[in-house]
């Protein structure tokens, strides 16, 4: 790029905003601002607003209107899930490219509206799925594309974590999050399959869920989603928030692909040094290798500079939202849902 890009982070509601701001402030080719106007709605004690911006060393604007007056080239949306659509549509209306935190939306009509708005405005819409850019998945995709596994017809994926409320109680609020673990975690694995299998759609979805773990939060915490993809591959995703509160890190993500030439087991967070210390107990995990957040931000900025669609794009995000909505339909009806 010949000119410095102006990037705005919209809302600190999602905790990933912190890592995205850190990845963005490490770059010299952009000018960064942030706003978090709804932080006052969050319960007392949750970080946000001007104070968090100051901690992160990023220039703060008070309102979304002030951001639009600043005329950003692109925005990174980290608002509560149900607020994604309105902000994406505002960004499109102001001609700003969008990197939107996952899940893209909490309903198929919302996701379709966001894709349509960005396509009509001619701006890029990318969904924040950093695991695509991890060392592990990059190696897996290369092996799969090289034919090492042959034809893959069975996939087991897991994205298990602690209950994610921590510093952000809205993540377990059905109104603001749109659901529980099925909403939060199914899409990460579904996105990797969307990348591996070039956007193949789901043909049928069946799902079960429960609230055995953390039954007081009001959303499902356990979930298993069974998918048949067009072409016949069968997939099961464990999206449960099933790691105990004392687990050494937030959670993890694994993928097992079974093909006629080989079986691949990927662990996206296994490149780490383990430790125990007086200060951290058993919670000392030091990751190493490629920084997926920084690589994802680079893909977003490169796609703008090169005037091409980002990966994953809005249509990819829409396909994963369809799977989530079908999973909830299946849980409600007890039947397998055809798409």
């Amino acid at each position: 790029m010949t000119t410095v890009a102006k990037i705005a982070v919209l809302s600190f509601a999602h905790p990933h905003a912190v890592s995205y701001v850190r990845a963005l402030t490490g770059r010299e080719d952009i000018e960064l601002v942030a706003t978090d106007p709804d932080h006052g709605e969050r319960p007392a004690g949750e970080s946000g607003g001007r104070d968090l911006a100051a901690q992160l060393g990023v220039r703060y604007l008070e309102t979304y209107e002030a951001v639009w007056e600043w005329e950003p080239d692109a925005v990174v949306i980290c608002a509560e899930n149900v607020r994604h659509r309105a902000l994406v549509e505002q960004a499109a209306a102001h001609g700003a490219h969008v990197l939107c935190e996952k899940p893209l939306a909490t309903s198929v009509p919302d996701a379709e509206g966001m894709v349509a708005a960005c396509e009509a405005a001619g701006v890029n819409l990318m969904v924040a799925h950093p695991v695509r850019f991890s060392t592990a998945f990059t190696a897996l995709k290369q092996a799969y594309d090289a034919g090492t596994l042959g034809e893959v017809r069975a996939v087991v994926g897991t994205n298990n974590g602690k209950l994610p409320k921590g510093d952000r109680s809205w993540l377990v609020d059905p109104e603001l999050a749109g659901g529980g673990s099925i909403t939060d975690h199914t899409v990460h694995v579904a996105d990797l399959l969307d990348s591996l299998f070039d956007g193949v759609a789901a043909r049928s979805v069946y799902a079960v869920s429960n609230t055995v773990l953390h039954g007081d939060v009001g959303v499902e915490t356990g979930g298993l989603v069974s998918i048949e993809l067009d072409g016949g591959a069968v997939v099961t995703i464990d999206c449960s928030w099933s790691r105990p509160d004392s687990y050494p890190t937030w959670g993890g993500l694994t993928l097992q692909l079974t093909g006629d030439h080989g079986i691949a087991d990927m662990d996206a967070f296994n490149t780490r040094v383990d430790g125990h210390s007086q200060a951290h107990g058993n919670n000392l995990w030091i990751p190493y290798g490629t920084d997926p957040d920084a690589a994802m931000i680079s893909e977003f900025l490169d796609s703008i500079a090169e005037d091409r669609a980002p990966q994953p794009d809005g249509r990819s995000g829409l396909r994963t939202v369809r799977i989530v909505q079908a999973a909830y339909d299946s849980v409600r009806t007890g039947a397998s849902v055809r798409l």
Partner: protein
């Protein structure tokens, strides 16, 4: 799978002359090319094969090579390092030399003095400092994550190297100087210089068919103690390293056999070539690109790299003490780096 790291030398491309075409040349050459360097190479054997496989331009003589390039990367068998370093220094070229910097500490001192006299930079290829798991661990140790370093353990296992010269202790210095030197250097990066070395070596089977293990115990000046075990095992053995750093406030540990991002089982079709032999299967950030990129920036006037020629000499001094200890069965005090004279 290697991901290119953002460490490109600026244009015009650095002109690199590689001397040697053995195993490590196959790691350095693609890394140089990915960094945008223009590579010529000279070797008494294997230069054409290397060029056909990876690229670069093979030239017919050392003189021709030195005329063509800005800097030299020496990846020859250990005994020839000093002669090539002196030739490159005499031609006014900066030098990067695969570890060990030289066959003996006296040779390493001569190499350092030759480069100092010629006004050229000299760095040894201690690439383990650039592997992500080791780099991340060193950063954590340096930041005090485990407090004061107390006890360190390292293991390094891989297929024994093929070429005969590795198995002639006079040529290679054996598994201690050739292979374990990586862990001796890393131990010092965390815990500082070493006072005393004790070592034992075990061999199963004769000659180049044998399996060799060396065990070395280090006492660091600051009171920390370290153990390194290095094995040249039978062909086909997976390359594997492990380490544990125990300090006053905690421990850090890693096993390359456990912390794999991706494992593929291909049944009888499986071509089990990756990650066996002398070099590990690398995913993520390429340590060779990180290393050569940092060295290239230093050659072009940037900051010095994380490992100096003196660090290379210090590691050789520890390896020499270990080799002496294997012979005598007694602990050996490491010679002071200042006392290694050119005439030693």
């Amino acid at each position: 799978m290697l991901v290119t790291v953002p460490v490109h030398p600026p244009a015009p491309p650095l002109r690199v002359g590689m001397i040697g075409a053995g195993g490590i040349a196959g790691a350095h050459l693609p890394a140089w090319l990915n960094l945008g360097a223009a590579v010529s190479h000279f070797s008494t054997v294997g230069a054409e094969v290397l060029a056909a496989r990876h690229g670069g331009v093979a030239v017919g003589s050392l003189e021709e090579l030195l005329d063509l390039v800005d800097v030299v990367d020496i990846v020859t068998p250990t005994p020839s390092h000093l002669g090539y370093i002196e030739a490159a220094a005499a031609a006014g070229k900066h030098v990067f030399c695969e570890k060990p910097l030289a066959r003996t500490s006296a040779d390493a001192r001569r190499a350092i003095e030759a480069c100092r006299a010629a006004g050229v930079q000299l760095y040894p290829g201690h690439v383990v400092r650039y592997f992500s798991e080791y780099e991340a661990t060193h950063r954590a140790v340096a930041a005090g994550t485990v407090g004061a370093v107390a006890v360190q353990r390292f293991t390094r296992t891989g297929s024994r190297p093929g070429p005969d010269w590795f198995h002639d202790p006079e040529s290679s210095g054996g598994v201690v100087l050739d292979q374990m030197i990586h862990d001796l250097d890393f131990a010092c990066w965390n815990a500082g210089p070493v006072d005393t070395v004790f070592a034992r070596q075990a061999r199963i089977g004769p000659g180049t068919d044998g399996v060799v293990s060396a065990h070395v115990v280090l006492q660091h000046v600051n009171g920390a103690i370290s153990h390194a075990a290095g094995t040249w095992a039978q062909p086909g053995t997976a390359f594997r390293t492990t380490f544990e750093i125990a300090g006053s406030d905690g421990i850090l540990r890693h096993d390359s056999g456990e912390h794999k991002p991706l494992v593929i089982d291909g049944g009888i079709r499986h071509e089990c070539a990756a990650g066996t032999g002398l070099l590990p299967d690398v995913t993520g950030i390429s340590p060779f690109e990180l290393e050569l990129g940092e060295i290239a920036r230093a050659f072009m006037g940037g900051d010095p790299p994380r490992v100096s020629a003196e660090d290379g000499l210090a590691a050789i001094l520890i390896a020499e003490a270990a080799i002496t200890s294997v012979r005598t069965g007694q602990p050996v005090t490491v010679a002071s780096i200042e006392n290694v004279g050119v005439a030693a």
